[in-house]
Amino acid sequence: MSQGDITFAGPPGARAAATLGLLRSELGLTFRRLRTLVLLGVLAAVPVLIGVVVRIETGDGSPAGGPGAAGGGGPAFMAQISNNGLFLVFTALAATLPFFLPLTVGVVAGDAVAGEASAGTLRYLLVAPVGRTRLLLVKYASTLAFCLAATLTVAVSGLVTGALLFPAGELTTISGTTIEYSEGLWRALLIALAVAASLAGFAALGLFVSTLTNSGIAAMAGAVGLLVTVQILNTIPQLDAVHPYLFSYHWLSFADLMREPVLWDNLYANLRLQGFYALLFGSAAWARFAGRDISA
């Protein structure tokens, strides 16, 4: 066959630059959408709600519970909020991570490909031609960006609410030691990043589900259904043997960033687990999407 005169001479790196342009377009599509803003708004309300409730409960100014009480995640943080507003960040993340936060990720990831298919825009992207692998990568990248944005929304809302309603200053780690407020802020940022990374595996799973159907709603429901199922399995003691393989197994490891010194083992284990999920379901999504008939 003749090679014809179809040639594309672009400067080196032009394709990478073009993919960044597509990513920017994808981010615009995700974040300038009303649905996304509503999801983020709901997430932002959670720390405010917790803060107000704690403030009312401890209205007389007496601290609720001693510092560095029991180990573990949420409850220990919760008890410290009235001592230090920064703990509202940790509490809010611990409260939203098991369900609310991944729920919003399930909506965004589930809709990523299936939503374009049901709107018919997918066929126009493909004839542009966007490239199926490239589209999938950009969709995953923007879903991860949403994970980060969602987590930061909770964190920032918690930080601001905490600063407005409660005292600031030195804080006590889970290990019982004291750290500066500025050090606490760093830890808060690290925790937010750890939480965002915790969602990477489920985001890949949601994207895979999204390649299975031409209905955005079905894909969102499917992803959220999987989340609920996994979180229920997680509570069944008889399934102990399975738990380490569930994407949420290490989710509360972020609390280890509030130890002194930081216990990294579980944090790394979480990153490995998320990376494993991202690879597994990223590949599955690719395998499914690359050769699929697009007849929507």
């Binding site: 066959m1 003749s2 014809g4 179809i6 594309f8 672009g10 032009a14 394709r15 630059a17 073009a18 993919t19 342009g21 597509l22 920017r24 377009s25 615009g28 599509l29 300038r32 959408r33 009303l34 709107a119 018919g120 825009t121 066929r123 126009y124 992207l125 493909l126 004839v127 542009a128 031609p129 966007v130 490239g131 490239r134 589209l135 050769g291 008939d293 697009i294 007849s295």
Partner: protein
């Protein structure tokens, strides 16, 4: 193959349900043609176009677009192709301009530096300049079709594939879109226009292929196709009765008489119509007008398929 903008060999698509949507299709679209892809609804036009654009995999057979095998060469071929497939599909919550910016950003070979200018030019070209800042969900169907066309025109294209671009439009909208298609063809693009409207193909196209139930019925230059439909002899006369009798004697069949007009199928063989006029005059029939009516594509379709071109759904 170099001269064919689109060429398929034995192209077949059987859907998972067992539905044979396209059945051993051999298409040849000459470069530079305005190629009408004609067929009633459900005859396999969109399925064929999806295979040409690499959206679905053929069950068997091959498709070459601009000389390259699809879907394998999608990445190199499709930047040269503008397509409107089964109706427009804009992002409703984004403006018309945002829609085009996104579709252009999706093409890795499109130059981002000229993007804004090309988007505005495409919008102007289809007459959407004034509505560019409106959300696409507020567009009428006609405006959405235009937006789809604008997306196909973001870059100079060697091939435009337009799947029923006038579907759902009012007559005025249809005229405007057809005028635009003619313009585009004059600019040198090959146009592959699918339609279930015979007159649309006749008005716009140089070449045509006719599909029925997934099969190719015929293809070729429109003029040739129309010529295949035999023209009818038409005589205008104050003596229709006598005229009909004389014509019948000379082998004209399927005679119909309507007031002062007598029409019929010419006799088989290569008889010169002049013999008929001589015979009429000789028999004392007063003839006001005598002519051979040109066949239409519709006659050709009816003759070829033995069925009417009735469109359902």
């Amino acid at each position: 193959m170099d001269d064919a903008a689109v060429e398929t060999r034995g192209l077949t698509k059987r859907f998972r349900g067992g539905q044979l949507a396209v059945d051993h299709l051999d298409l040849a679209v000459p470069a530079g043609a305005v190629f009408g892809f004609l067929g009633p609804n459900g005859s396999g036009k969109t399925t064929t176009i999806r295979m040409l654009m690499g959206l679905i995999e053929p069950t068997s057979g091959t498709a070459h677009v601009l000389g390259r095998r699809m879907p394998r060469a999608a990445r190199t071929v499709l930047p040269h192709v503008g397509a409107l497939i089964e109706g427009p599909a804009p992002y409703g919550f984004r403006t018309g301009r945002d829609n085009l910016l996104r579709y252009d950003a999706a093409d890795p070979t499109a130059d981002p530096r000229t993007r804004a200018a090309r988007v505005d030019a495409a919008l102007e070209r289809v007459g959407l300049g004034a509505a560019a800042g409106k959300k696409a969900k507020a567009y009428s169907l006609g405006m959405k079709q235009r937006l789809g066309l604008a997306a196909a025109l973001l870059r100079p294209r060697r091939l435009l594939v337009l799947d029923e671009p006038t579907n759902g439009l009012d007559p005025q909208g249809m005229r405007e879109i057809r005028a635009l298609i003619r313009e585009l063809a004059q600019d040198g693009s090959t146009v592959f226009l699918s339609s279930h409207l015979l007159d649309e193909i006749e008005q716009v196209c140089t070449h045509a292929a006719v599909m029925a139930r997934g099969r190719l019925v015929v293809q070729g230059p429109v003029a040739e196709l129309a010529a295949r439909a035999q023209g009818r002899i038409a005589v205008t006369t104050p003596d229709p009765g006598d005229a009909a009798r004389v014509l019948k004697e000379y082998g004209v069949t399927d005679l119909t008489v309507a007031e002062d007009r007598v029409t019929g199928e010419p006799p088989p063989g290569d008889r010169d119509p002049a013999e008929l006029t001589a015979a009429l005059v000789h028999a004392g029939v007063r003839v006001r007008a005598f002519g051979l009516e040109r066949g239409t594509l519709e006659d050709a379709f009816v003759a070829l398929t033995g069925e009417g071109f009735d469109v359902t759904g």
